[in-house]
Amino acid sequence: MGFLAPWFLAGVAALGIPVFVHLLRKHVTTPRPVSSLMFFERGIQSSTRHHRLRYLLLFALRSTLILLVILAFAQPFVRRAATSTNDRLLLIVLDNSFSMRAETRFAEAKQQALAVLAAKPSAQRAQVIALGGQVEILTQPIIDEAQLRSVLEGIQPGDGHANFGELGRSIRAIVEKTHSPIDLHLFSDMQRTAMPANFADMALPSSVAIVLHDVAKSKVPPNWTIESIRAPAQLSDPKDTKQSRVQAVVAGFDTPEAVKTIELLVNGKPTASRKVNVPASGRATVEFAPIDVGYGFNRCEVRLAGGDAFPQDDAGIFVIRRSDPERVLFVHAASDTRSPLYFSAAFGAIGQSSFILQSVTAEQTTDLDPSKFSFVVLSDAIALPSIFEHALSQYVSKGGGVFIALGTHAGQHQRIPVWGAEVDNTHDYARIGRAARISQIDLTYPALQQEQPSRDNGGWGETKFFYAVSVDPGKSRVAARLNDGTPLLLDKQVGEGHVLLFTSGLENLTNDLPLHPVFVAFIDETARYLSGRERLSGSQLVDSFVQLRSSAAPMSEAASVEVVDPDGRRPLLLSEARTAQTFRLQRAGFYQVRFANGRDSLIAVNPDRRESDLQPIAPDIQQLWSGSNRGNAPVQATVVDDIKYHPVNLWWYVMLFALVVALAETALASRYMGTQREEA
């Protein structure tokens, strides 16, 4: 203990004040008259008595008060040991994203992490985190080095895409929970693509000292990769060159110009090979057509021959399902001849040879079984035979897809079949002389998605709508709205299936959509979405999710789903198989999935190709990050050899105590004063 301002201790002399008042000062008493002193005698002891501590407690309080005030001014402090190493939490974060498979990065990172763990003081707590597609906290803060080492050694390189923003969020959550300072060691290749869009997402709290262990050592090896593959998910005629072709994009990162050989493998067998000249750090497209695939699911792979520093990203996989063409039922009103014409024309334009369009009027649907069709289109066919309508409802609840377009006939009927709601109102924009346009459109919606949408809402901005039906959206998803707020395209899940409601017609009387090119793309995506082909085959990215069952399905009626991962194991427990709604595809490879509606699927899962860009974060940004939690101070060493102390000023506590003493003194003095007044 010491004093920050010891010269104030000279004020101790002020203690003489209460000593004088209580000990030295002669007691003054008001003389009292008496008739005679005849019977009185002088009391000698009275004068000496006042020299004693009559008000001992009051004297003590006053002396203490003065002493405390002097102490407060002298600012006493105690030395408290600064946070020792043992109080700091050692956080070891090992990057096991896909890019760490390059060269010997992961092995080096793990080795360095083990070395840091070995250097940890035995009493220090540590925690191990794996940074892959997700931030996985593998241990609680523990001091058991053997367990920590075991966990660390058990981390394997994954296929996910690391994101330092996710890491920052997780660390902030840990700090809020532990309330102790953290030494964070990040073992990573510090890939640039792992940076979040906003640097603030990866900023760490001030109590976290981060040490970056760049295992790539800022070296960027040349790396070619299959960046993307465009292939049909379903194929009915391999000889149809419009459909039966595979386009692959070869990208080079920090690569010189080179001629690369690309192979196409179907079910493990090379079927075709192409040579392509890839410019320096550029891209080249290679195409395989036609594709010779057998019936059923075909595991296809586009492979880059030759190899490089990162061979794991030299292949891209996908699934093509070959089947006979599926039938699509197009139901229209008897008087409507335009919509079948436009719809079939759009089908022909997209070359969907895998679909056969069967067009019937509403009255002809009585004997039809919807389950024999890939999906059903109701074009202004509001008045359906009840038998067909019932069968259609059953079909949807079991996973079927229905596309309903509401033309002018819809305004004459209140109820919309299968949709389960009624027509609220009709808008005849032609009558008021001003056509409606689309003001809001969700281009991420599967039936509307476009790879590179144009500025006019992907071509939808030019379309005019003369007539539309207003329907209460309820719980359905609204994918597009007109400028007066009328929902144009709605999606509702009914059981395991989907119902799309287009509140205008499919002919050129209610809108001019069929006259625009976007109509073809719309019909194409809608057909893919409703037939479920995209879900049943094709390719996905690692860490994407597959919806196994509808969330609306009651649990009692839920059927088991089945997932077989690339290693042939079933990652879902039996209980999870009955309840899980989604499944995360966390590894690259082929997943076999049986959905709750009984459909089988084979899904190819590729790593995020951003992992192929091995360019590290710029050193200044790394420095900014490591110093972001402590200003511009350099990165601190982890192990602190000497215990440091810092003074803790006690003046505040002393003043608080002085206040209490002052209050007690006031109360006691008031009491004595009252006594004196009574005596007087």
């Binding site: 008001t30 008739s35 002193l37 005698e41 002088r42 009275s46």
Partner: protein, 295 residues
Amino acid sequence: MERFLDPAVLAGISSLDLLAKTVVDGFVVGLHRSPDFGFSQEFAEYRAYSPGDDLRYVDWNLFARTERCYLKRYRGETSSQLTILLDASNSMQYTSGQLTKMDYARFIAASLFYLAIRNQRDAAGLIVFDDDVREYVRPSTRQGQLMRLLAGLERAEPHARTDYGRPLRHFQALLHRRGIVIVISDFYEEPETIVRTIQPLRFHGNDVVLFHILDPQEVRPDLKGPSILVDLETNQRMEVTSEYARSTYRAKIQAHIEQLGSRTRATGMDYHLLVTNQPLDAALREYLSLRKAGN
């Protein structure tokens, strides 16, 4: 009745005349139950005539009605003289409440004068003294005597110390006729000196009564702590402990009272201690008892 004799109540009455009337009237009203007291010119009894009795006392009216001879006896009418010697020294100024000893003494004197003059038709006089005779009102039954006496009381303001020796020499010269002499004082003097000084009055045939006026705080002083006391007569200061006041002083004052009482009674005088928080009737009662005794 006692409420009207309570000194604290009487202190609120400014006029001594009214005060005395209030006290005496209240006192007399309370006496009617007592058969032992009577007044002059009052019928006493009938007694059968016996030879040798003075025929002047025969009730001839009764004889005319009954032909029996009875003597009508009256209480003998005596003309008594009351003289009050009032101590007006500074010590009589002391009070621990609202009533000083001097006020209390005035009340007693006024009440006694009223009782003597208005009720008993006695002559009454006043001598106010401290270290000398300050006021003298000759005993008389003349018209306006009561007013003169009360005025004398009003003028009696304490302003010197007590000295019994000098004024007592004058008393003997002033008191020509026998009567009742009441000395009202706090008697802060040695009992022997007091008795020696007052005793000659008794030798002259007076009935002498000492009314010893003390404040309650003088009898049982209660000091909260060490105090400096100032003598009202000498202005002498003295530091006194509360323990002494609680123990030794009380014993001393008690011994003084007892000694004074015993010595005065031993010399045929009467002694009464009157504490200023007591009612005034004790003094009046004492006067009437003395008068009944035959003065």
